[in-house]
Symmetry: C2
Subunit: 194 residues, 2 copies
Amino acid sequence: MNSQPLLSYINKIITLTEEEETYFTSKIVYRKYLKGQYILQQGDVNNKICFIISGCVKMFYVDDLGQEHILMFGVENWWASDLGSYISQAPSDFNVQCIEDTALIQVAYNDIEDLYSKIPKLERCFRIIIEKAYVASQKRIVRNFSMSAKDRYLIFKENYPEIEQRIPQYMVASYLGVTKEFLSKIKSQIATEQ
Amino acid sequence: MNSQPLLSYINKIITLTEEEETYFTSKIVYRKYLKGQYILQQGDVNNKICFIISGCVKMFYVDDLGQEHILMFGVENWWASDLGSYISQAPSDFNVQCIEDTALIQVAYNDIEDLYSKIPKLERCFRIIIEKAYVASQKRIVRNFSMSAKDRYLIFKENYPEIEQRIPQYMVASYLGVTKEFLSKIKSQIATEQ
DNA sequence: AGTAAATGTTAATCTAGATTAACATTATTT
DNA sequence: AAATAATGTTAATCTAGATTAACATTTACT
C-alpha cells in the first residue's frame, strides 16, 4: 500500500519520527472506489477521513427542490470528506461521490483519538488542516457575495486549471452557483472578448 | 477582571483543573472598546483572539467598489476575531468593528503556543472551536446557494432573534447579501402575509 | 456501426434582486 | 427646540442570471 502521499502531506505541517510514521501507517486503510460510488451520503456520520491518492470526487448537497449544489471538488493530495461531520461526528449535510475511479487512504474516527494520544502532534496537524479549510470557506463566502458569476468563473479557472479539464461543465456551473446555460453564455462571452 | 464567562465557555468543551484555570487566567487581558472602534483591520495580522464579555461587533469585508459585506456579528460569549488570521498569522481579509461599546478578553498569539504546551487540552479546545466555525461557514455557503433572500432572512431571525433587535436593519441586509431597500421590501411582504 | 444517454449550446422570455431617487422617521448633537 | 446625521420606506426602472425549450455534439453501450 502506498501511504507516501499522505505522509509527505502531513510532514509539510508537522514532523513525524520514523516510529510515529510506522504507527500512523498501521492505522490507515487503502481503498478503491469506482466512478459513481459514494464515499459519504447526506445524513450519515462521516466516520472515516479520506485522503485522495488518485481520482476525483465532488462534495455536494441536494436541496429541497432536488437541485444539486457542489461545495468542492477533490483530487490527488486533497481531503475527500466532510471534515465537519468527521470531527464533530454529527450527520453530514453533504454527499461525497466519485466522478472518476478513485483510490484513497482512510483513517477511521475510532482510531483518531488513539492516534492523537500516541502522537499528540497530530492533534495540531488536524487543527491546522481544519483552519485552512475554514479560511478557504470564508473566502468562498466573500467571493459569492461580492463577485459576478463571470469573475468567479475566472478565479476558478485560475485556481484549479487542472480540475476544469477533468469534470463536465455542468458541474463547474453547479460549483459556481449558476445554471449550465448561463456558464455556457459566460464562456462564449469570454471567447468573443479576445 | 471577570474571566468567568470565558472559563465557563471553555469548560463546556474541555475540563480545566483549578491550577490550569489560574495559569490560563494569568495570560489573558481584559479590554474595553468604544462603539465605532476597530478591533482588527483588513490587511493586519490578527495577533489577539477576542472573546466578548459584553457588547456587539461586526466582522466585514470591503470590496473593490467600496461596498461593505458583513460576514458575522458577535455578541456576549462569542469570538470577535478573524480566527483564520489568528491561527495562521496571515493578514486578515476582514475588519472587526464595535457596533456597541464592547468589553472583551484577549489572548495574545505570542502566549497561545505557551498555553498549548502548558495545557495541551487547549490545543484540542481550539481545534473544536475552529471546527464549529468551519461547519457554520459551510452551512452559510449552502444557504446562500440554495435559498431566497426572504428565506435567509427568516432563518436569521430564527437563529439570532436577540441580535436583530440590537443592530440597524441595513447591517442585517449586508449580512444577508441584499440591499437595505430589498430587505425593506421583504419585511413589508412578510407583514402583509399574516 | 448504430443507438441511447450524457453533455453542451443558443435564443426567447421571465424574475429576484439592484439601482436610483425622493421622501419619512428616528437619533444625536448643539 | 432646532438642526443634522443616521436610518428606514416606497416606487420606477434596470439587469444578472434563471427557466424553458429546441437542437447539437460527444461519449458510452449493445
